[in-house]
Every structure is written in structure tokens, then in C-alpha cells.
């Protein structure tokens, strides 16, 4: 039974109020016969049975004035206005008077009375038993002994415009009246001795009965907003809470209640010492009965203070403390302790949960709360309640250094708890990498796969941990799937592939994954892992590479993406095939396939691609044993070589072909490179006469020397190759490639070549040369004659006179008239005017001038070209007969010094030039 109560604490300091003037116990009300008390706006107000009102201010100074002739019965101090409303009697037997005092306006030591109204319900005079004023100053309710409640509506401070009406008529004394505002409605609680009602005075006085039991006067109070403004009624069995629509909870505080008061979330109950209590009622000084004042914290459910007082007259809550006015006319002040000391008391009793709720209700700051949680956690930890402790520590996350908690639980090997803490840490997004690592290690240590799943795999969750760390930890501890899922989710391609390939060895998946990536990552990853993939899943890898190197788009991407829909041209992304060749190590077949594909779709591939492909072909070809397949391969190789797009490196290709002894290829390449000599030599080395002749025929146009070579080749041959020799000779003869002496010299090397072979050739040759000589001699003779003629002519001009007897002008063909000009050359004669209009030069005969100039030009040209040594060499090389070129140049006077002699004759008479 004794435990059927809340926990009891002492959160209030009791102190007897002292008179500041005398520093003695406050005794100024010693002789006052108190009838009513109220308080508000910093002062306590007491009324007595003599009609006096006493005011006690904060400094405990007392003032008083006489308000009524006979007595004061009820007092109400409004909270928001400095108004005191009192009910009392001025005359015996006459209805009580309501007086409204304006405490701000003092008039001769007493406040002004702004209103004076008689309280009469109907016409039967009865004493007032309850009284309430609404804070909006618009409603005032007065309850009477006979059960009637009178409501005054209108400004309470003035009598004018104030109307009164009966809003309730009961049978028993009205013991309490309380206003409550609910939105627009104002509700009046009416408590009588045997019932409880509400009257909605703003809605036609709608009346509702809440309960069949009432309450004694004084046992009615209104809670503050923290408890929803409920009406509290104290009855012997319990304290009941009411809302306008009905009864609410109750608190079974037993005992007869004398008064209820409300102070800042505390319910103050003044009760008689319960009979059930072990102590007998104790009589106070002067034989007064002792009452108990108990302060309940309704929200946190504990007793904040409880102590006996002698005959409590009233309890007033003012200026942040509780004043208890006792029967011995003493005033006690209960001062609430500060939150910190309250909490310390609770800590001492290890009552942390209460401390927490108290701290919350007192709006303690966050740091304070954290401190409590920490202490609570430490306490529970100390008790060995690790589960409980971790719950508390979790609440400290963000403030308390996480390592403090972690170390505690790490040392104690409480991995479960640690896990929970770390999870919470992650949830609040303040976990560091180390925390993630630790948490994952915990999971793996506990082998708690489901939790791990939850932590890692949960979809659409914000990532509250460091992904890379998580991946690494999972991987290290063998939870590859998780690591994989993480990597995939967070697009850590490197990690994903590393795990997939190195740990799980699921190459297909890895490949598929790469296929889904965007271009750049796909390319770089394939470069990195291509080798492994190729060795494991060659086919798929090759396919992927093909895609990558042509027109890559991720696997899961729609064929037509937004860019192309918008009309833009999607960027074609392709990798360079040659960069992937190294991947195909040890897998020539696939490489061939890949490269074939590449050159097919993309003929402009780099030469590396072609070179490699060629090499592969050759390699295959050489190692192919079956003849038919080999032929096929040769055909393919040659095709490749002949492909005009094929951008291979000829030198390299040549080396390759030679290494692999691929004849057709070699020959083709020689041909392509215009290395006809090489072709010939190749044939010679292989002693293929037919081919030698053929290639000579084929390429003889481009390089006649081939024939010469062929000749010496055949000449060196010991075996019989007469026919070839014959043919070669014919060609040499035809093109006059070699002087006969050389031919014979060459053939002399051959022991088998007989004279008959060359007989025809030599005979024909000698014949030809004879003819040539004869022709030359003839020419020499002719030239000599010409020269002689010219000499004679010159001599003539020099020594004998010339007769000008022309009768016609050589220009206009008219009869020659004076003045005229005559030239020695032909002789030519002209009219002077004709001469002047035609001639460009006074010295020259206009008729002979063009001819002369032509000859002069030739001479000059020859002289000039004499100095062009390069040209000379060229000519020498190109000429079938070098000697003639040299002779020609000699003829042009290569070795001459100045040869041009210009003979100048007098102007106007004649002009001619010497020549040779």
C-alpha cells in the first residue's frame, strides 16, 4: 500500500518568509482573520472577515485598506490586468456586493472601485459560494449557495452594458466555477457539491453533465497549457481530470483533499493526513490540525515535494514560488530547486530515466541531456546492462566522442552492442571510415549476413558510409557478394571488376558488367582486365571488343537515346583497336577474328592492325599442314596484301613474308615497292628461268637493267639455258642495252655458251656499227664543207668591196630612193624611213635580224647550259651513248674561254657579226 504512490523527491526548498524590515519571521498578518486569498502580478492579496484587504508586495511590505463594511468572502486577481475583483458584504442580510478594483489607480491610499454590482440570482437573496472571471474581461460568473449560477456578460469593469442571466440552476451549492476558452467557444465548468457540468455560454448555454459527483470548494483547479488546460477535481479517492467533453484520466491519490492548486506543471494538493498513513494525525502548535502539502509533477509522475503544515489556509503561487499561508499566520515560501541540482539528486539515486524526462520537460538544452545520457549509459554499463547502456550511448551520438563508447565496448568484447552503436552512428551520418570498417568487421565477425545485407544492399537508401572502405572490408573478410553489390551500386567499376575477377572469378558477369558501362570506363577497364577475360572467356570478350572498337554504346542503353531523338548526332565512341591487341596474347584465333572484323567495318585502321593481322595470317599459313587449307590461307593472305585499303607497313610486311617464306606475298610486295631487281634476284635465287624471263619482260620497261642482269645470270649458269640466253640477248639487242663487247665478255664466263649463240647477234651488231661509222663520216665531211664555205665568205667580206645595187627597198618593195640604208649581209637595202620604222636597232639589218638573233640565242643557250653540271650529268646518264653527249658539250665550247666576238661597224653604213 505504501508503494501505491509515485516516487518522492524533495525538489523544493522550504523557507519561512521573513519581514525584511525586522529580519524576523513575517508576522504582519498575525491578527488577521483571513477569509480569502488571491495573488497575481507580483503581490499576494488577503481578505479578512472584517472587510479589509491586505496587499503584500515582493518586498514583503504590507498595505491595507477597507473594502467592505462587514467582510470579504471571495477574491480574484486577474492575471493579465491589474484588476482585483472581490465579493463581500457591506450590510448584514443584504445581498453580497461585487466590487471591481483598479489597482493601477490609487485614490487616497486605496485603489479605485470601478464597479459595484449586487449579486442576486432572481429575487431570493443567497450567499455567494463560487466566483470566476474570464480573463478577457467579458464574462463573470457567480455561483450561489442555492445552486444557481449567474453570468455577467459585458465589460466587467463597468456596470453599464453589463447584462446578467442565469446559466445554470442546480440543487446543491455551487462549489466551483471555471472558464475555459476553446477556440471561439467559452465554456464554463460548474461544479456543485454533487455534480459536474459544463455550460457553453457562447452557444445558447448548451449544458452538459460530465459527472455525477461534484467536489468541495477549493478542490477545483485548472491546469496550465502543459496539461491541456484540464479541469482538476480532487475527491477523496483520486484526482480526476476533465475535458469539456468528458472525464479524462485520474490519479489515485487517496485522502481527503482540502485544496488543489496549480503551479507550473505541478499539482499542489493540500490534504488531511490520510487515516491510512501509519502516523496518527499530528496536532500542530496551538492545537491546530496538521495538513499535508504535496506537490505532484503530473507530467513526469513523481512527488516533487511533500511536507506537513499546520492548518493550511491557502496556497498562493506567485513570483515563481509557492507561498503557503498556514493557520499560525505564518507564510512559507517554497522555492523550486534549479534543474541541475534536481538532476544531481536523481543521479544520486541512479534514477536516470526520470532525470531524462525531467530534463526534457524543463527544456534543458541538448548538451545537458547528452550529459545525462552519458551518465546513464555509464551507470548501466557499470551495472553490466550493456544493452541498456548502448541505447543511452546511442542518444549521445553527435556530441559524445564516439571513440569513448567504442573503446568501452570493444574492450568488453560486446560486439552486438557495438554493432548497434555503430549502426546508429551511420544512421546519423557522422560515421568515419574507421567506423564503417569497424561496423563491417563486426558484422563479419558475428557472421550476421542478414544485417550485412541490410546495411549494404538496402535499396534507395542514402549512403551514410564510406563506400570504398566498405567494399574493401567486405572483400577482405570474404563477403565478396556484398562488396560486389556495393561496388555495382556505387559504380566503383574498378572495385567491381577486381572482385568479380579476382575473388569470384565470374568472368561472364564481369564482362557483362563492362558491357554496361559508359564508353570511357569500359575502355579503360577492358584494357586493364582484358587479358584475364580473354584467357577465360575468349568469345564474349572478343565480341565486346568488337563492339567497343566499332560503335560502342552501353548494353542497357536504348538504341535511340535522347541525343539522337533531339536530332543531334550522337558521338560515335570507339576505341583504337591496336590498343587491345596485346590482350590477345596466346589467342591468335580470336585476335584474327577480331582484327578481321575491325578491318572489315573500319578499313582505315592503323597499320599496326594490318601488320598484326598479316603476321597472324602468315603464322597460320606456315603452320597449316593440310594443303587445301593452306592454299585457302595463302589466298586470304594475299588478298589482304592486295587490299588497296590495307594500310600495312610494306617493309615490315616484307620481312614477315620473308620470314615465313611466303613467295607470292614477297613477290607482290616487291612489285608494290617497285623493287624489280629484288624480284629478279628472288627468281634467280630460286633458279626459276621462266619467271626470270617473265619478270624481265614485265618490268623491263621500268628497269631495262633487268635484262642485263638476266643475261649475266644466264651466262653464269652452267646448265643449258640457251633459249633463255637467246631471248635475253634479243631484248638486250632490241633495246641496245649493252655494247657488244660487254655482251661477249659476259658470255665468256659461260662455258656452255657457244659462239653460235652470239653469232647472229655479233654479226648484226658489227653491221650496224659499220653503217653508223659510214654515216658519221659522211656528216663530218659535210660539216667540214660548210665551215669552209663560211670562212671564204668572211674572208670575202673582210677584203673585197661590196656593191649595193638593189633597186627596190627590201621592206616596201618600191623603188629605192634616197636617203637609203644598205647592209652588207645580203646585201639588203632600204628606204631610210622604212628602215627607221621597222628596225629595232640601227646596227642590224631588219631582214637578217630574226635569223641572226636565233643563232645568237642558240649560242647563248649553249653557253649557259654549259654551266648546268647537273643537267649535264643527267643527260649523260640518260643518254644511250654517253660519248655523244660529251661531244655535244665539247661542241658547245665547254672548255672555251670567251668565244663570242662582236664585230662592230660604223653606224648607218653596215652591221654584221662574225660567227665562229
Amino acid at each position: 500500500m505504501a508503494f501505491l504512490q509515485w516516487r518522492r523527491f524533495n525538489f523544493f526548498d522550504k523557507e519561512a518568509v521573513k519581514n525584511p524590515a525586522t529580519d524576523q519571521v513575517f508576522d504582519l498578518l498575525k491578527d488577521v482573520n483571513v477569509s480569502a486569498c488571491t495573488s497575481g502580478r507580483g503581490q499576494l492579496v488577503v481578505g479578512d472577515f472584517e472587510g479589509n484587504l491586505y496587499f503584500i508586495n515582493r518586498q514583503m511590505e504590507l498595505t491595507a485598506f477597507r473594502a467592505y463594511e462587514i467582510r470579504v468572502t471571495h477574491l480574484t486577481q486577474l492575471k493579465q490586468h491589474n484588476l482585483l475583483i472581490s465579493i463581500g458584504e457591506d450590510e448584514q442580510g443584504i445581498n453580497p456586493l461585487i466590487k471591481v478594483w483598479n489597482l493601477d489607480k490609487m485614490e487616497r491610499g486605496s485603489p479605485t472601485c470601478t464597479r459595484l454590482t449586487r449579486a442576486i440570482p432572481g429575487n431570493k437573496p443567497t450567499p455567494v459560494s463560487a466566483f470566476a472571471v474570464h480573463d478577457n474581461l467579458n464574462f463573470m460568473a457567480v455561483g450561489f449557495e442555492n445552486g444557481i449560477v449567474l453570468l455577467f456578460k459585458g465589460d466587467v469593469t463597468r456596470e453599464r452594458h453589463s447584462k446578467s442571466r442565469n446559466v445554470f440552476e442546480g440543487t446543491k451549492r455551487v462549489t466551483g466555477l471555471v472558464f475555459k476558452t476553446m477556440g471561439k467557444d467559452v465554456i464554463l465548468y460548474v461544479v456543485t457539491e454533487n455534480s459536474l457540468h459544463t455550460v457553453n455560454i457562447t452557444a445558447k448555454d448548451a449544458h452538459m453533465k460530465l459527472d455525477d459527483t461534484g467536489a468541495n470548494p477549493g478542490c477545483i483547479v485548472m491546469t496550465d497549457a502543459s496539461q491541456d488546460n484540464q479541469l482538476v477535481i480532487g475527491r477523496p479517492d483520486a484526482v480526476y481530470f476533465y475535458q469539456p467533453d468528458g472525464r479524462g484520466p485520474c490519479l489515485a491519490f487517496e485522502g481527503i483533499k482540502l485544496q488543489l492548486h496549480w503551479f507550473r506543471g505541478y499539482l499542489i494538493v493540500v490534504g488531511k493526513e490520510s487515516k491510512a498513513m501509519p502516523r496518527a494525525p499530528v496536532l500542530g502548535p496551538h492545537g491546530m490540525e496538521m495538513n499535508t502539502v504535496t506537490v505532484y509533477d503530473i507530467q513526469n509522475k513523481f512527488i516533487a515535494y511533500s511536507a506537513p503544515y499546520p492548518e493550511v489556509i491557502d496556497v498562493m503561487c506567485e513570483s515563481g514560488s509557492i507561498f503557503i499561508f498556514t493557520g499560525d499566520r505564518k507564510l512559507y515560501q517554497l522555492q523550486e530547486k534549479d534543474t541541475q541540482s534536481k538532476l544531481e539528486m536523481l543521479f544520486k539515486k541512479n534514477n536516470y530515466s526520470l532525470a531524462i524526462s525531467l530534463a526534457k520537460s524543463q527544456q534543458l538544452d541538448q548538451d545537458g541531456l547528452i550529459d545525462i545520457f552519458t551518465q546513464y549509459g555509464d551507470h548501466l554499463y557499470g551495472k553490466g546492462d550493456h544493452d541498456g547502456a548502448i541505447d543511452q550511448y546511442i542518444k549521445t551520438i553527435g556530441k559524445l566522442e564516439a571513440s569513448y563508447v567504442i573503446r568501452k565496448f570493444l574492450d568488453a568484447q560486446r560486439i552486438h552492442n557495438l554493432t548497434k552503436y555503430l549502426q546508429a552512428l551511420h544512421k546519423s551520418q557522422i560515421a568515419t571510415e574507421e567506423h564503417t570498417t569497424l561496423l563491417l568487421n563486426c558484422y563479419t565477425k558475428l557472421k550476421d549476413v542478414s544485417k550485412l545485407d541490410e546495411f549494404i544492399m538496402t535499396k534507395n537508401r542514402e549512403v551514410d558510409f564510406d563506400v570504398e572502405t566498405a567494399i574493401n572490408v567486405c572483400r577482405q573478410s570474404g563477403y565478396c557478394k556484398h562488396a560486389l553489390a556495393l561496388a555495382e551500386k556505387h559504380e566503383k567499376h574498378e572495385h567491381y571488376l577486381k572482385i568479380q575477377l579476382e575473388d569470384i572469378k565470374d568472368y561472364q558477369k564481369a564482362l557483362a558488367y563492362i558491357g554496361k558501362l559508359e564508353f570511357e570506363p569500359a575502355e579503360s577497364n577492358l584494357k586493364q582486365y582484358g587479358k584475364i577475360l580473354m584467357s577465360q572467356v575468349p568469345n564474349e570478350t572478343t565480341e565486346l571488343l568488337k563492339r567497343l572498337c566499332t560503335d560502342y554504346r552501353p548494353n542497357d542503353k536504348p538504341l535511340i537515346d535522347q541525343v539522337s531523338l533531339d536530332g543531334g548526332i550522337g558521338k560515335i565512341q570507339k576505341a583504337q583497336a591496336e590498343e587491345f591487341i596485346h590482350i590477345f596474347v596466346n589467342n591468335a584465333g580470336k585476335l584474327t577474328e577480331f582484327l578481321e572484323h575491325m578491318i572489315e567495318v573500319q578499313p582505315a585502321s592503323s597499320n599496326l592492325v594490318y601488320n598484326t593481322l598479316l603476321e597472324l595470317y602468315l603464322h597460320d599459313m606456315v603452320h597449316e599442314k593440310v594443303i587445301s587449307a593452306r592454299v585457302e590461307r595463302e589466298r586470304k593472305t594475299l588478298e589482304l596484301l592486295k587490299n588497296p585499303d590495307a594500310n600495312y607497313d610494306i617493309d615490315q610486311a616484307l620481312i614477315l613474308c620473308q620470314m615465313n617464306n611466303f613467295k607470292a606475298g614477297i613477290l607482290y610486295l616487291y612489285e608494290k615497292a617497285h623493287l624489280y631487281q629484288q624480284i629478279l634476284r628472288y627468281h634467280m635465287e630460286h633458279n626459276e628461268y621462266v619467271h626470270v624471263i617473265e619478270s624481265c619482260k614485265k618490268f623491263g620497261q621500268q628497269d631495262p637493267q633487268l635484262w642485263v642482269q638476266a643475261l649475266s645470270y644466264f651466262a653464269c649458269k652452267e646448265e643449258n639455258c640457251k633459249s633463255q640466253l637467246m631471248e635475253t640477248l634479243t631484248h638486250i639487242d632490241k633495246k641496245n642495252l649493252l655494247p657488244p663487247l660487254m655482251v661477249i665478255q659476259i658470255l665468256a664466263h659461260n662455258s656452255t655458251a657457244t659462239l653460235s649463240v652470239v653469232k647472229d647477234y655479233i654479226v648484226r651488231r658489227l653491221q650496224m656499227e659499220n653503217d653508223q661509222i659510214a654515216e658519221d663520216e659522211r656528216l663530218i665531211k659535210q660539216y667540214k664543207e660548210d665551215t669552209e664555205k663560211k670562212r671564204i665568205k668572211i674572208e670575202d667580206l673582210k677584203t673585197s668591196a661590196k656593191v649595193f645595187q638593189a633597186s627596190k627597198c627590201n621592206i616596201c618593195s618600191h623603188a629605192l630612193e634616197l636617203p637609203s640604208v644598205h647592209f652588207l649581209c645580203e646585201p639588203h637595202s632600204f628606204h631610210q624611213h622604212c628602215f627607221e620604222s621597222y628596225s629595232e636597232n640601227d646596227m642590224e639589218c631588219p631582214v637578217c635580224a630574226p635569223e641572226n638573233r636565233k643563232i645568237m640565242d642558240i649560242i647563248r643557250a649553249q653557253e649557259q647550259s654549259r654551266d648546268f653540271h647537273e643537267f649535264f650529268h643527267n643527260q649523260l646518264e640518260r643518254a644511250p651513248d654517253g660519248f655523244s653527249v660529251v661531244a655535244d658539250y665539247f661542241g658547245r665550247g665547254v672548255f672555251n674561254k670567251v668565244t663570242l666576238i662582236t664585230d662592230q661597224t660604223g653606224k648607218g653604213v653596215s652591221g654584221t657579226s662574225t660567227y665562229r
Binding site: 501505491l4 504512490q5 516516487r7 483520486a238 484526482v239 484520466p249 485520474c250 489515485a252 491519490f253
Partner: protein, 212 residues
């Protein structure tokens, strides 16, 4: 918050069976290992949705102590549903069920939906009352039965919601007179004007249709 209906519940049963914890779990979704004795009657509320309707549950958590019986009894009246709770690890709490049931039937309206709850199902190791026994008792007295754990929250939600469903069904069936607040059912503020006017002449039979 607007609601279509308000149902009034009470939670009864011996002291220490976990009545307050059930309520706390249902309203606040938390569990308090050290819970003070309930002195008197406490109160909690939560919104639930049944059949697409918002229903406010007003739950009265009573003190289990014998000495408070007279106070708690006064709260039986006007409850539409009751959770009768016993502790599966204490047989005596199961044995007292009959008394509680009689008490409840006597002080509340006869249509009240009673859900029998064997709480602390997480303490399987210390079980004293078999599940079958609970089922049998419920069958015998026409109650709904469920084992719950306020600690792990197992079945707690279901216990309250199933009770509400049962009440809702009874309203649909016209068993409850929804305009009599003594039945523990209140029509929500936005529904009341229309329904009240409709129900002036109607009897219980067709009330189910009115609320749609």
C-alpha cells in the same frame, strides 16, 4: 485531426501484466523496461485507418492494483473495446481473468468487444500459461485472442487494430448505436452533422450505411 469515428478502449488486467507498456508501445512505439506503477487511470490516443477510414482510438489504461478497482471500474462505462491482458509467465494473472471478465461485463455495455491478450510472449523460457489455454479461454467466453510482446512490439499493433476492426464490423452490422456515446463510439466532427440528421428516425439496423 479529423476522424470518422472515435473508439474508446480500456485495458484491464492484473497489475504488472504490461498494460501500460502495451499502450506505450502502441502510441509511442517504444518500450520502457522500468515502468512505474499506474496510479489511477491513464490515457493514450492514436489514429488508425480501417477500410480507408480514419479512426481515432482513445485508450484508457487502468491500474491493475486491487485497491484501485473502484476507481477503474468507473471507466468501464462507455468503452467500445477492452483489452483484457494477462502475463504468460504468471499463471495467477491468467487465473484472475474470470474476475476481470465478470467485472467488465457487469460495468460496461454488453456489445463491448473484448480482446484477450497474453502478453510478454518474448519471455518464452519463463512461460507458465500455454497458448492453447489462452485460446481455449477465449473460445469459451467468446473473446478474440492474441499473444503479444510489448517489448518486441510483436502483435501489439494487431491487437489494437483487430479490436477496432471488430468494432467497425459491429457498427457495419448495426449492433452498435453509434449515436449513443455510452457505447464508446463517437462520430468524427466532420461526419456528425450529416449523420445525425439522417439518424433521427433510423434505428440501429441501417446505421452501417450512413457512415459511408
Amino acid at each position: 485531426m479529423s476522424y470518422a469515428y472515435l473508439f474508446k478502449y480500456i485495458i484491464i488486467g492484473d497489475t504488472g501484466v504490461g498494460k501500460s507498456c502495451l499502450l506505450l508501445q502502441f502510441t509511442d512505439k517504444r518500450f520502457q523496461p522500468v515502468h512505474d506503477l499506474t496510479i489511477g487511470v491513464e490515457f493514450g490516443a492514436r489514429m488508425i485507418t480501417i477500410d480507408g477510414k480514419q479512426i481515432k482510438l482513445q485508450i484508457w489504461d487502468t491500474a491493475g492494483q486491487e485497491s484501485f478497482r473502484s476507481i477503474t471500474r468507473s471507466y468501464y462505462r462507455g468503452a467500445a473495446g477492452a483489452l483484457l491482458v494477462y502475463d504468460i509467465t504468471r499463471r495467477d494473472t491468467f487465473n484472475h481473468l474470470t474476475t476481470w471478465l465478470e467485472d467488465a461485463r457487469q460495468h460496461s455495455n454488453s456489445n463491448m468487444v473484448i480482446m484477450l491478450i497474453g502478453n510478454k510472449s518474448d519471455l518464452e523460457a519463463r512461460r507458465e500459461v500455454k497458448k492453447e489455454e489462452g485460446e481455449a479461454f477465449a473460445r469459451e467466453h467468446g473473446l478474440i485472442f492474441m499473444e503479444t510482446s510489448a517489448k518486441t512490439a510483436a502483435n501489439v499493433e494487431e491487437a489494437f487494430i483487430n479490436t477496432a476492426k471488430e468494432i467497425y464490423q459491429k457498427i457495419q452490422d448495426g449492433v452498435f448505436d453509434i449515436n449513443n456515446e455510452a457505447n464508446g463510439i463517437k462520430i468524427g466532427p466532420q461526419h456528425s452533422p450529416a449523420n445525425q440528421s439522417l439518424n433521427v428516425g433510423g434505428s440501429g439496423g441501417n446505421q452501417g450505411g450512413n457512415c459511408c
